[in-house]
């Protein structure tokens, strides 16, 4: 009686032309990850955000996207790495970045601006054009920085860009970003209100606000946020006998300004 391995080889040889290595499990590609600095999120992602891939952090305003991205940058800059923040709407607060531990000297901040500012007013203002203009600048800047290489993390902040405008970015652009990020080993974080890059993203995290804490009813003490995985790369998903299940959402909290002063 032939052994199981011999039988498997026999079947694979028979099916080789149509299904190469039909019964051999594909080798699992383990993505290198980098810690986000938030233990709850790291546990959810099995180590952190992937290196050399696109990660999307989506959610509405006040859902903790920016705090999560800054915590990640703080981790990367603390390792003497260089990061970049492409700010489509010029909304980064440098004080918040410093308070979260980001080394500002190692952060290249690209502030996109409305190119129509300063031009003479026109009769019917076209509100869509400035948005596209900023978005276009942000995409071009991201492309340049990814091609330049050497950045450990790059945040493309489209968090304040209307989803209907951000969704018009072609999938070919995201695919190009993914290839460039992979080649230069750069973690590309996309902050947006809704998922944009679809299959090009290795990780999509959906953020939502939970509760706000107050200290003595006079100070905003902090906020709790919920993070649930919208999409995880196969290498990050936890394999189980029952099949591939989406990990449950996790909660994490960030302290507010009052807590900061108290701890200081």
């Amino acid at each position: 009686m032939p052994s199981a391995s011999a039988l498997r080889i026999q079947i694979e040889n028979a099916l080789e032309r149509r299904f190469p290595s039909a019964l051999t499990p594909q080798p699992r590609t383990i993505l290198e990850t980098a810690s986000t600095g938030i233990p709850e999120v790291d546990r959810l992602l099995d180590g952190g955000l992937p290196v050399g891939a696109i990660s999307e952090i989506t959610g509405p305003v006040s859902s903790g996207r920016t705090s999560l991205a800054l915590a990640f940058l703080a981790q990367r800059t603390s390792e003497d790495r260089v990061c970049a923040w492409v700010d489509a709407n010029d909304s980064l607060d440098s004080e918040s970045a410093a308070a979260n531990g980001v080394a500002l000297k190692q952060l290249l901040w690209v502030r996109c601006k409305n190119q129509l500012q300063g031009t003479k007013p026109i009769e019917r203002p076209d509100f869509s054009r400035p948005v596209f203009s900023r978005l276009d600048q942000a995409l071009r800047a991201t492309d340049l920085l990814l091609q330049a290489g050497g950045f450990a993390a790059l945040v493309l902040d489209l968090g304040s860009t209307a989803p209907e405008h951000a969704a018009k970015v072609s999938l070919a652009t995201w695919f190009r970003f993914r290839q460039a990020a992979d080649r230069t080993r750069c973690s590309l974080l996309v902050l947006a209100q809704e998922p944009l890059s679809q299959s090009s993203a290795a990780v999509v995290l959906e953020c939502a606000p939970l509760t706000a804490q107050s200290a003595n009813q006079t100070v905003l003490g902090g906020c709790s946020y919920k993070v649930s995985p919208g999409r995880l790369a196969s290498s990050i998903k936890t394999l189980s006998i029952a099949g591939q299940r989406k990990p449950p959402a996790v909660e994490w909290s960030a302290t507010g300004a009052g807590q900061r002063e108290a701890s200081a």
Binding site: G37, V61, S62, S63, T66, S67, L70, A71, A74, Q75, T77, S78, D80, R81, V82, N89, S91, L92, D93, E95, S96, A97, A98, A99, N100, G101, A103, L104, K105, Q106, L107, L108, W109, V110, R111, C112, K113, Q137, R140, A141, L144, L145, Q147, A148, G149, G150, F151, A152, S160, P209, A212, S214, V219, L220, A254, T255, G256, A257, G258, Q259
Partner: protein, 503 residues
């Protein structure tokens, strides 16, 4: 002690050579250089192709314009000065003792090469290397080597290529030269012509005492010159090292591409000159004379001193594209500051960082896209004004000297603000001096909790004074979305603004 030995390098038609050194596209074209005030300009220098077309020195502009296919350029003394500096700099590589013997239309210098045989080999080899070095700088010169200073000068000025005159053979080497090589005053030249004296050999053969009796004591020097025995006291000059190139255009240039075409050649020359001194270019200053506008000046400072021509040209292109000149360009000057060749010590376990030269180009491109002041590193201002910062140029700091932030693992995640620039004006409804609802241009919000006020003020002595009241507000929009935001009241004008969202 070995006898003195001199090498003279002589570049004739220097006005033409200096211009063609930069304008390489005209190198194979017939070019005539005009000097003088319009309309009385005359040809002062020309190249071989122009001679073949029938042009000659001293022709007027009208005469030269009648010759088809001739490129007429105006003489540029600045370009000649820059080329002359390059000429002397090349010569200084072979001997520290130089004496300039240039005249109005030729650049020449004499090198004291006594005792250089062990460094450069025999005089023939040194002459070849000197000529090749000058040729690599875009200058064509003839070289003559002699034990007599004046013999070397006269021979180099009157013959092409390389001539090495053995000691004692000076008179023989000069014998066939015309009397014009001595640059005699016109009346004396006429006297010699009447006597039938046409070559230096014939002059050398005249008896010294009779010659002095008829023409005066200077005739002794002429005779000694013709015999190759006139002594000379060497007066060495200090060959300066200044990295500067100049090019004046015959017509105002409006196209950036045309400027860059010339700029590329100038950068090439600067980089080559710096490299010969084992140096790099630390900064590049661009100066343009504009047609009816102030002088255009920009400075390019790469992160690391470099001699990478393509990289410097790209930076120049991006700089000019980001700050285009306001009028047509009359002349272009590139001056460089030399710096030590940069060496970067990489560590085996050091994290990967952007390549400095590539990062320079990337940042220049980003600035071209977003604006000059929109790219860099944020630096917090030493001020209590909320949200104050300034932008500084981004540079990769040396990890040993870089500012170390607070250990990030010890920092708890903190609520970050997303600033709204410029802030949105809102209408706020108050109850017991606390916001209970507010409304912007699009929707209304109902406040569920308001924490504050946090009052700040400062700079009351200046126009940048501020006096504000901040409220951390939790609110629900009319669409049901929960937000945490920062409402600010300008106490001076009693205006409310939505400054930021907590995110």
């Amino acid at each position: 002690m070995s006898p003195n030995l001199y090498a003279c390098a002589h570049a004739e038609e220097f006005p033409a050579q200096a211009l063609l050194r930069i304008r390489t596209e005209l190198a194979s074209q017939p070019v005539a250089i005009l000097d003088g005030r319009p309309p009385l300009e005359m040809v002062c220098s020309l190249n071989r192709q122009t001679r073949l077309k029938g042009a000659a020195l001293g022709m007027t502009r009208l005469e030269t314009e009648s010759i088809s296919g001739l490129h007429l350029l105006a003489r540029s003394l600045e370009t000649e000065a820059a080329a002359s500096a390059v000429f002397l700099e090349c010569a200084a590589h072979f001997s520290p003792r130089l004496e300039s013997v240039s005249n109005e239309y030729a650049c020449a210098c004499v090198l004291d090469i006594t005792g250089t045989e062990r460094l450069f080999g025999p005089p023939e080899l040194l002459a070849e290397r000197l000529r090749a070095a000058l040729a690599s700088s875009g200058l064509r010169a003839s070289v003559a080597v002699s034990a007599n200073f004046h013999t070397a000068c006269m021979k180099a000025a009157t013959t092409r290529g390389i001539t090495v005159i053995p000691p004692g053979q000076e008179a023989a080497a000069l014998s066939r030269l015309s009397l014009a090589a001595l640059n005699l005053p016109i009346d004396h030249a006429e006297t010699f012509a009447i006597w039938g004296i046409r070559t230096l050999a014939e002059l050398a053969a005249l008896p010294e005492s009779d010659l002095v009796a008829r023409l005066g004591p200077q005739a002794r020097d002429w005779r000694n010159l013709a015999r190759g025995v006139l002594p000379h006291t060497f007066q060495p000059i200090e060959a300066g090292f200044s990295l500067q190139e100049f090019c004046a255009f015959e017509t105002p240039v409006e196209q950036i591409d045309s400027l860059l075409f010339i700029g590329a050649r100038m950068i090439d020359c600067l980089a080559t000159r710096a490299a010969t001194h084992a140096l790099s270019l630390a900064s590049l200053a661009v100066q343009m004379q504009l047609d009816g506008a102030p002088v255009y000046q920009r400075t390019i400072r790469p992160a690391l001193a470099t001699i990478d021509r393509k990289f410097l040209l790209k930076l120049l292109q991006l700089e000019i594209a980001a700050h285009p000149p306001q009028a047509a360009v009359l002349s272009l000057t590139l001056s460089a500051q030399a710096g030590q060749s940069s060496k970067v010590q990489l560590g085996l376990f050091a994290p990967q960082t952007p390549e400095p030269s590539r990062l320079d180009v990337t940042i220049a491109r980003l600035k071209a896209i977003t604006g000059e002041d929109r790219v860099g590193s944020p630096v917090l201002e030493d001020s209590h004004r909320p949200g104050s910062f300034r932008m500084e140029s981004f540079a990769i700091a040396n990890s040993s000297s870089a500012y170390k932030p607070v250990e990030s693992s010890s920092v708890l995640p903190r609520m970050a603000l997303r600033r709204i620039r410029p802030p949105t004006p809102v209408r706020v409804q108050l109850n017991d001096l606390k916001p209970v609802a507010f409304r912007d241009r699009e929707q209304s919000f109902k406040v569920s909790a308001a924490y504050g006020p946090w009052r700040t003020s400062g700079c009351w002595w200046s126009t940048e004074a501020w006096n504000t009241e901040e409220w951390d507000v939790l609110a629900k929009s009319s669409s049901g979305a929960s937000i945490a935001c920062l409402l600010v009241r300008n106490c001076t004008h009693n205006r409310w603004q939505l400054e930021a969202f907590y995110d």
